[in-house]
C-alpha cells in the first residue's frame, strides 16, 4: 500500500462460530479516500466481516486497527464515535420516530449537557437541540429527504428508508462508511440514482467507503478496488478490470450467478 499507513488495517482476521469459520484468515488494508467493493456469493462472510469492524462480533483471531486505534476490544458505540458508520442489509431505521429525529440521534448519542440540565429544561438544552436540528436538516436536504422531515420514518417508501439510513450514517460524521447492500430490491433506474448519490456524498463528505453489493455492475461502476470473499476466505483483490478478468472469480462468483439465473 505504497508504504503509507492504511486507514483500516485488518490483519489475519478469523471469526469462528463454534466450528464454522465465517471469516478465515483475511487481511485487508484500506487507505483513506478509497471506494472499495466487497463482493462474494451468499454466505461468503461479507456481513460478518462488517459486523466485526463495527464491534458486533469479536474476531477469534487477528486484529483490526482503524486510524491508529485497535478495534478488537471496543464496543459498537465506541467504534461509532471513532468514525465508523454503517447501513444495514435489512433496513434498521427508528420506525416510530420522525425522519428528522432519526438523523439527529447520531449527533447527540452522547449529549453535551448533563442529565440534570435536561430535567430542568435549561435554555442550553433547547439551544443545543435547535442547533442539531439545523445540522440534521442540512443532511436531509442533501439527500433529498427534507420534504419528509416530520413523517414517521416507518411510513416512508422503501427506497426513501434506505436513503434515510444513509443520511443517519452520515450524521454520525464518519471517516469510514460501510454500506451493506444499499441497492438491494431496487430497479435499474433507482440503482443509477443511488450510484449518483453515493458518488456525490463520497466526494462531498471526504469519505472512505466499503460497499457490499450483489448488483455487480453497480460495484464495478463505483469502486476503485474490489475484494472478493468466498467461504470466508479472500479469493481475489484488484481493480474492477482485474476482477472481471480473474478466472477464479468468474468461476466462483460471476459464473455461479449466471448459471443460477
Amino acid at each position: 500500500m505504497d508504504g503509507k499507513t492504511a486507514l483500516l488495517d485488518i490483519d489475519h482476521m478469523t471469526i469462528a462460530f463454534g466450528g464454522l469459520k465465517a471469516v478465515n484468515d483475511v487481511s485487508i488494508q484500506i487507505n483513506k479516500s478509497e471506494f472499495v467493493g466487497l463482493i462474494g456469493p451468499n454466505g461468503a462472510g461479507k456481513t460478518t466481516f462488517f459486523n466485526s469492524i463495527t464491534g458486533n462480533v469479536s474476531p477469534t483471531g487477528g486484529g483490526i486497527v482503524f486510524d491508529g486505534h485497535s478495534l478488537t476490544k471496543k464496543r459498537p458505540d465506541q467504534i461509532s464515535r471513532l468514525g465508523i458508520s454503517r447501513t444495514f442489509q435489512n433496513i434498521r431505521i427508528f420506525p416510530k420516530m420522525s425522519v428528522l429525529d432519526n438523523v439527529t440521534i447520531p449527533m447527540h448519542s452522547a449529549p453535551s449537557y448533563s442529565m440534570w440540565a435536561a430535567m430542568l429544561g435549561l435554555s442550553k438544552v433547547t439551544r443545543q437541540q435547535k442547533e442539531t436540528e439545523k445540522r440534521a436538516l442540512e443532511f436531509l436536504s442533501d439527500l433529498g429527504l427534507e420534504a419528509y422531515k416530520d413523517r414517521e420514518a416507518g411510513t416512508l417508501a422503501y427506497g426513501l428508508q434506505r436513503r434515510l439510513e444513509i443520511a443517519r450514517a452520515l450524521a454520525a460524521s464518519p471517516k469510514l462508511l460501510l454500506l451493506d447492500e444499499p441497492a438491494a430490491g431496487m430497479n435499474n433506474d433507482e440503482c443509477n440514482e443511488l450510484a449518483e448519490l453515493l458518488r456525490r456524498i463520497y466526494k462531498n463528505y471526504d469519505l472512505t467507503v466499503i460497499l457490499i453489493e450483489h448488483h455487480i455492475e453497480f460495484v464495478l461502476k463505483l469502486c476503485d478496488r474490489i475484494y472478493v470473499l468466498n467461504l470466508g476466505q479472500l479469493l481475489a483483490e484488484g481493480t474492477p478490470e482485474e476482477i472481471q478478468s480473474n478466472p477464479e472469480v468468474v468461476r466462483a462468483y460471476l459464473g455461479s450467478r449466471r448459471t443460477k439465473q
Binding site: N56, F88, N90
Partner: protein, 292 residues
Amino acid sequence: MNLFLQQLVIGLSIGSVYALLAVGYALITSIFNFTNFGYGAVMMCGAFAAYFAVVKLGFPTLIGLVFAIIFAVFISLITELVAYRPLRKRKSPRLYLMITAMGFNIFLLNLAVVLLGANVRYLPSTFSTDSIHMGSIVVSALDVYSLFASLISLAVLWVFLYLSKQGLAIRSAAHDTDTAGLMGINVNKVSLIVFAISGITAGIAGTFMGMKYTVYPNLGDIANKAFIASVIGGMGSLPGAVLGGFILGVIETMVSGYISSALRDLFSFGIMILVLIFLPNGIVGKKVQDKL
C-alpha cells in the same frame, strides 16, 4: 449425614419438578424468544383441574393427572392461538409479547381468585402416602413419586425432541426460526406442538405441586422458580433448564433444612443475581446475538 441425604433426595425431587417446568418454559423461549409469563397461570389451571377431578368427581390421582394435563394443554394452546400468534404475525416487539403473557397471568390468576376464592384446597393423593425408608433415610412417598414422574417425563421429552421428526423440526426452529420457516418447516405447527408440550409439563408439575403444597390461585408463583432455574442454567437452553432446575431445587431444600425456610426465596434470587453477574449467559447458555 442422614439429614443431608434426606434433604438431597427431597431437593432432587423438587428440582426435578422445577426442571420439568423450566424445560416447558425454555422451549418457548428458545423458539419464540420471549418469556412466557403466563406459564404459571397455566400450571395453576392444571392443578385446579386435578383438584376437581379428584375431589369433586372422585377420580383416582392418575385420572386427575390426565385432567390436569388436558386442561393445561387447552389453556396453553388458547394463549398461543388467541394472543401470541397474531402478535408474532404482526412482528410485534418482544415487549408486547411479554405484556400479553403477563396479562394472561394476571387475568387467569385473578379470575380464579374471584370465581373460586383465594383459599387453599387440599388435594389428596390416592397413591400410598407412607414414608419410604431407604437405608437409614426416610422420605415421603410423594417426593419419590414426583421425582420419578418428572424424570420419566423429561426422558420421554428427550426422546421426542432428539429422535422424532417433529423433534428435529422443533430443534431447528429453536436454532433459527426464520431459516426454519424458509426450509419448509411449518412454524405454526411447531408452535402448537411446543405450546402443547409446555401445557403437559405445566399439568404434571401443577398436579404434583398441588399435592405437595395444596391448590390455590397463586400456586403458579412456583413457575417463577422455573424462570430462575432457566436463568441459572442459561436462557433458552434445554439442558440448561434441566441443570438449573436441579441445582435450584437442591439449594432451596438445603437452605430450608440448614438455614431458614423463610430465607429460601432470598437465596434463590441471590444466586440468580450472582449467576447473571458472573455467568451472564448462564451455566450452559450460548451467547445470544442479534442477527444483523
